[in-house]
Amino acid sequence: MVGCGRVGSSLARSLADEGWEVVVVERREEALSRLGDDWRHPVVIGHGMDAHVLEEAGVEDADVLIAATDGDNTNLIIAQVATKRYGVENVAARIQDPARAEAYSDRGFEVISPVKMAIEGLASWALRAGTAS
């Protein structure tokens, strides 16, 4: 899990609760407190674009890598590095900007755009609500 913001930390906890082996990579040490006092899995402090940091986190053996830092471009680069350089089979990147999410939708990794989901969700709700009234 690269990035320990609101999304990354919650996701890391959920996967750990499912019994997964999880390693969290985060640049800012203070952000790791989001994982809670009872976090028992490894963390690596460093930038997710730094190959040494990814390797220390065990990228070469990872089944899944999720790039969820607060930077769209950082996530896009990390996802491509994980896919192309380290051959991680399942890679996902969180991309806020719907246009960039679309531009990178077909590159061998999953692109998840929360903004696009919100737009789609709200649009379908509004259309349903408006039609019903």
Partner: protein
């Protein structure tokens, strides 16, 4: 020529000024408001204020025409990589040049096929190596597109190659000697040229051959 320069810092603004002075059509994209204002005072309508990694901003700058060249020189390597990828792969821009801020990110640029790149730190480091002879193998020039590099070595007195002709020293495939400087006099070499201790030799080789070449010419 029509060029889009993304990033209006020192490098981007100097590039823009130089291109304008040579009568090229230029648009410079800058994200920071205060910086964009400064650029507008000098370059007027040639400035687009916005995040150059956003598609609509690139489109405002005219990327769909497409430009003859896009230059990605922001201070963030991830941004420069994304700009270069979008320009080439989404908009079909034929020539893209990207700046590498942190030399450790060069591998990512290479992995993504972004070329040519310019890394000022690496360039200055190469000049330092050239000026300060504590490095035994000096990188003079990297030809990324051609996948070759040119290096300089001073032949070590303890090396088994001393006194031998070049054809006998066992250079690996993928490496060739170009020239020899002996007592300030340079000459191009051929298979029969001999090497002495202290000769400065320039070689062209494929990246990754340094260790073999070091062994042959320095004996270590």
């Amino acid at each position: 020529m029509f060029a889009i320069v993304v990033g209006g810092g020192k490098m981007g603004s100097n590039l823009t000024r130089t291109l304008v002075a040579r009568d090229h059509e230029v648009v410079v994209v800058e994200n920071k408001t205060a910086r964009a204002d400064v650029l507008e005072d000098e370059f007027g309508h040639r400035v687009v204020h916005g995040d150059g990694t956003e598609l609509y901003v690139l489109e405002l700058a005219g990327i769909t025409r497409p430009p003859d060249i896009v230059v990605a020189v922001t201070g963030d390597d991830e941004d420069n990589m994304i700009i270069a990828q979008l320009a080439r792969e989404k908009y079909g821009v034929a020539k893209v040049i990207a700046r590498v801020n942190d030399p450790r990110n060069q591998v990512h640029f290479d992995l993504l096929g972004i070329s040519p790149t310019v890394c000022p730190t690496q360039r200055i480091m190469a000049l330092i190596e050239h000026e300060v002879p504590e490095h035994d193998l000096i990188h003079l020039l990297e030809l990324r597109r051609e996948n070759l590099e040119i290096i300089e070595v001073e032949v070590d007195p303890k090396c088994p190659c001393v006194g031998k002709a070049i054809e006998k020293i066992g250079l690996p495939a993928g490496a060739q000697l170009i020239s020899r400087v002996r007592e300030g006099k340079a000459e191009l070499v051929d298979a029969g040229t001999t090497l002495n201790a202290g000769d400065q030799v320039i070689a062209i080789l494929e990246p990754g051959r340094e260790d073999e070449v070091r062994k042959v010419l320095l004996g270590r």
